[in-house]
Amino acid sequence: MRPRIEKWALVVAWAASAASPLRAADDPALLKDLTAVIALLGLPCGQVIGAVRQGNNDHVATCKDGNRYRVFVNPEGRVVARKQ
C-alpha cells in the first residue's frame, strides 16, 4: 500500500513539473504582445503563433515564419529577444 501511494505521489509530482513550462498558446493577448515586441525590436517574425512561458516575463515565442525567440526582460530592465 505504501509503495503504491509513493508511486502515485511521484506521478503527481512529475505531472506538476511537466506542467511548469506552461504553454501559453491559448492566450491571444500574450501572443499579440509578443508579436508586437518582436516587431518593435525589428526582428523577423510575422506573427507569434505559440509561446511557452519560461518564467516571469520570460517566454519562448514561435513565429509563423519558423523563427523562435526567447523574449525576456534582462536584469537591466531591457526587453531582449534572443533567437533560438
Binding site: 499579440k32 504582445d33 508586437a36 515586441v37 516575463n57 523574449v71 526582460v73 526587453v79
Partner: protein, 230 residues
C-alpha cells in the same frame, strides 16, 4: 508582473515629455476652435486667438512661404520659436495639398484676401489650434490602455529612454549629430507607438499624434530639454 507599475515605468518618460510639452502649451493662451483640431493639425507651443483662426481657416494652407506675422498673431507665439521653426516646415509639407483647394474659394473675394492672408500667415506658425493637452488624462489612459501589452510597454520604455539618451549626448557634445538627424528616430518611435495604439485605442493615438510637434519642440530646445531631464 502587475500592469500598473510597468505602465507607470512606461508612462514616466512619456509623461515627462508630455508634461514639458504641456508646460509649453500652458505658457501661451490656449485657444480651441469649437470644432476641435482641424485635420492634419498639430499642437504647438504657442497659440492663435480664436478670432484669427476660425475652424474653416484652421485647415487652411500652412504655407510657410506666406510671410509676415498677421496682425492677429498673439505675442505668445514668440515664446516658442524653436518649436515653430521645425513645426512650420513639417506643417507646410502636410498642409500643401490643402492649400490648393482652400485657395480656390477665396479668389472671388479680394477684399477678404487680406485678412485671409493674415490668418494664413498666422496658420503656418500656429497651425490648427489643438485642444490643450490634458496630461493627467493622457497618463491615465496610457497606464490603462489595453492596446499595448505589458512587455511591449517595457520595450517602448526602453526605446524612449534610448532616444532621450541620444538627445542628452547631443546637447552634451558627446554625439556629433544634428537635430534633423535626431528627428528621424523620434518620428520612428512615435510611429511605433501610434501603430500599436491606432487599432486598440484610436483616441489615445490621436491625442499622441496631436502632441507630436509639441513634444518635438521641447526636445529640440536645449533649455526645455534640460528642464524635463531634471
Amino acid at each position: 508582473m502587475p500592469a500598473s507599475p510597468i505602465g507607470a515605468l512606461l508612462c514616466l518618460p512619456l509623461a515627462v515629455l508630455l508634461s514639458a510639452a504641456c508646460a509649453g502649451l500652458e505658457s501661451t493662451p490656449a485657444s480651441v476652435p469649437p470644432g476641435g483640431p482641424a485635420p492634419g493639425s498639430v499642437a504647438q507651443g504657442g497659440t492663435t486667438p480664436p478670432s484669427a483662426t476660425p475652424p474653416q481657416k484652421a485647415a487652411q494652407p500652412l504655407d510657410a512661404t506666406r510671410g509676415g506675422a498677421g496682425a492677429s498673431a498673439p505675442p505668445g507665439r514668440a515664446a516658442t520659436p524653436a518649436a515653430s521653426a521645425p513645426a512650420r516646415t513639417g506643417i507646410a509639407k502636410t498642409a500643401a495639398p490643402a492649400s490648393a483647394a482652400s485657395r480656390a474659394p477665396a479668389s472671388p473675394a479680394p477684399a477678404s484676401q487680406a485678412p485671409r492672408k493674415e490668418s494664413q500667415a498666422a496658420a503656418p506658425e500656429k497651425p490648427a489650434a489643438a485642444p490643450p493637452l490634458d496630461l493627467a488624462s493622457l497618463q491615465q489612459r496610457l497606464r490603462q490602455t489595453n492596446a499595448i501589452g505589458v512587455v511591449t510597454k517595457i520595450a517602448l520604455k526602453n526605446q524612449v529612454d534610448d532616444l532621450l539618451e541620444q538627445f542628452r549626448a547631443y546637447y552634451q557634445g558627446r554625439q556629433h549629430t544634428t537635430l534633423a538627424a535626431l528627428r528621424q528616430p523620434y518620428d520612428r518611435l512615435l510611429l511605433k507607438v501610434l501603430a500599436l495604439l491606432q487599432d486598440g485605442d484610436p483616441s489615445l493615438a490621436g491625442a499622441i499624434s496631436a502632441s507630436r510637434e509639441a513634444i518635438w519642440g521641447v526636445l529640440a530646445d536645449p533649455v526645455k530639454f534640460a528642464s524635463i531631464r531634471d
